[in-house]
Amino acid sequence: MPKITYIQHDGTEQVVEVRNGLSVMEGAVKNNVPGIDADCGGACACATCHVYVDEAWMEKTGERSAMEESMLDFAEAVQDNSRLSCQIKVRDELDGLVVRTPESQH
């Protein structure tokens, strides 16, 4: 199973195995990784699963969808590497992915 590294705002690191097909958000929530709230459960309705994708993984994680772009536009502390983690589906290619969580989710 692909391993995903979640790094919290305070530097705490958690490496979690996430099965293919789940989202990077689900990987965090199912393993009680703090910092990803995911209020809407992956419906792309809330922007509370905001993460920063490690620069080295930007290409593999792909582009933001139009809806995602629109939601992120109003989230806090958005950067070029910001994504909604519910919109990144885990697959073999993402084994080793590193994401960081922002200070808070709104």
Binding site: L22, E26, V29, K30, N31, N32, P34, D37, D39, C40, G41, G42, A43, C44, A45, C46, A47, M67, S70, M71, D73, F74, A75
Partner: protein, 409 residues
């Protein structure tokens, strides 16, 4: 803050109870945590039951909040399939339906709400269903498909989501609503009309102003819904979606203060300092509206789970929130922020004909609520403006050429 060794017992393993258990561990609570749930499965997300799951677009695994192993691995004693039947506050003891009892230092009531049943003749016929649990959703899914006829009683969000999913599964669908318009209790007329048009375009039939008097059947199985005007609407499945009532009997019987649910403060604490109440069952203060009310939504369940877990572990309370909810029907994403309390004006931004618009409810120049269709900027910025209680210009708000960022500037 409770003692580090305090035994926290959570009654109700829905989204609120399950989240509270996980947060207690995430926030560092070291004492025992017991999570009691009536259903046979660990906590899961209910919203997809009428949406993606019902249409077959999400599997059971994706509904589950945390895998079953999570609870034992984090020292959470998860007890499925049992219900709390008694609460003795003096002895700090909860009696369970299997005859056992649990002693607590801190109790969290997360007993949720139940679908209101219609006390009408024939309501006990096979095929008359409601939607609350995964088991309910399984029954509904099994009953839908090409050639099947579904009658939905109640034109609220649950009813409309089931109608949309029913159409996606190929069933014929008729929605029976007592009021002259859909979503009468929860949305403005503009939105009611919009949703009716959209559903009709997808082949859903509506009977508005229809008073249901009972259910007709044969050999124990429903075959039609009878109306006050004498007609019978033929169908083989009925889904009743006429609202929910809080499961607050345990609290009432134990003498806790209740109103339209269990009364709590900003920490989600009840009138007994050792007992919290969270989620659909709680009647809670909402400072931005300067009033108390009861909400049925996942964001509300999560917020109160955070409040209770923070209070128990001595963390600062979460910053205040703007309540919100969402609904998916066909390719429409509805996002609602706030509640239209005391609103005196409605501003429609965008054109409903384009299926991309938002309806703002204002009280003076303050936004009280926004209902947005396929319009995330209006929802996201609206939510921030509601929470910040910041006045806006109605002229700018009504003009889609002025961006939401400019509206808020």
């Amino acid at each position: 803050m409770a003692a580090a060794s305090a035994h926290v017992v959570i009654i109700g393993a829905g989204h609120a109870g399950g989240t509270a258990a996980a947060l207690l561990r995430q926030y560092g609570h070291e004492g025992p945590v017991t999570l009691v749930g009536e259903e046979p499965i660990p906590p899961y997300q209910r919203p997809p039951l009428s949406k993606a799951w019902l249409k077959g677009e999400a599997d059971a695994d994706s509904l589950t909040l945390k895998p079953l192993e999570f609870y034992a691995a984090h020292g959470i004693d998860f007890r499925p399939g049992v219900r709390a039947v008694t609460l003795e506050r003096g002895a700090r003891k909860v009696g369970l339906s299997d005859g056992s009892s649990l002693s607590y230092d801190i109790l969290i009531l997360a007993t949720g709400a139940r679908a209101i049943a219609l006390p009408l003749p024939g309501a006990d016929l096979g095929g008359v269903l409601s939607l609350r649990t995964a088991a309910d959703a399984e029954r509904i899914k099994a009953a839908l498909g090409p050639g099947r006829r579904l009658a939905v009683v109640g034109g609220g969000y649950i009813g409309l989501e089931v109608a949309a999913s029913g159409r996606a599964l190929g069933a014929e669908v008729v929605v029976l609503e007592r009021e002259p318009r859909l979503l009468a209790r929860v949305a403005c007329e503009e939105l009611s009309t919009f949703f009716q048009d959209q559903h009709e375009a997808h082949g859903v039939r509506f009977e508005l102003g229809a008073e249901v008097t009972g259910f007709a059947g044969w050999a124990g199985k429903v075959a039609g819904v009878t109306l006050a005007d004498g007609r019978t609407i033929d169908c083989d499945t009925v889904v009743v979606g006429v609202g929910a009532a809080p499961n607050d009997e345990l609290a009432r019987d134990a003498g806790l203060e209740t109103a339209r649910g269990v009364v709590v403060d900003l920490e989600a604490r009840t009138s007994d300092p050792s007992i919290f109440a969270i989620g659909d069952v709680a009647h809670r203060p909402m400072p931005i509206y300067e009033r108390m009310f009861r909400m049925e939504s996942v964001p509300n369940a999560l917020e109160q789970a955070k409040q209770a877990a923070a209070a128990i572990t001595g963390r600062p309370a979460p910053a205040g929130e703007c309540p919100w909810q969402w609904s998916d029907q066909y390719d429409l994403k509805l996002q609602i922020a706030g509640y239209p309390f005391d609103a005196d004006q409605i501003v429609v931004r965008g054109d409903p004909a384009s299926a991309k618009f938002a309806v703002f409810h204002l009280k003076g120049d303050l936004i009280q609520a926004v209902e947005s269709i396929n319009s995330p900027p209006e929802f996201m910025m609206g939510k921030q403006l509601i929470l910040g209680r910041r006045p806006v210009s109605k002229a700018k708000l009504a003009d889609p050429a002025v961006s939401m960022k400019e509206v808020a500037a």
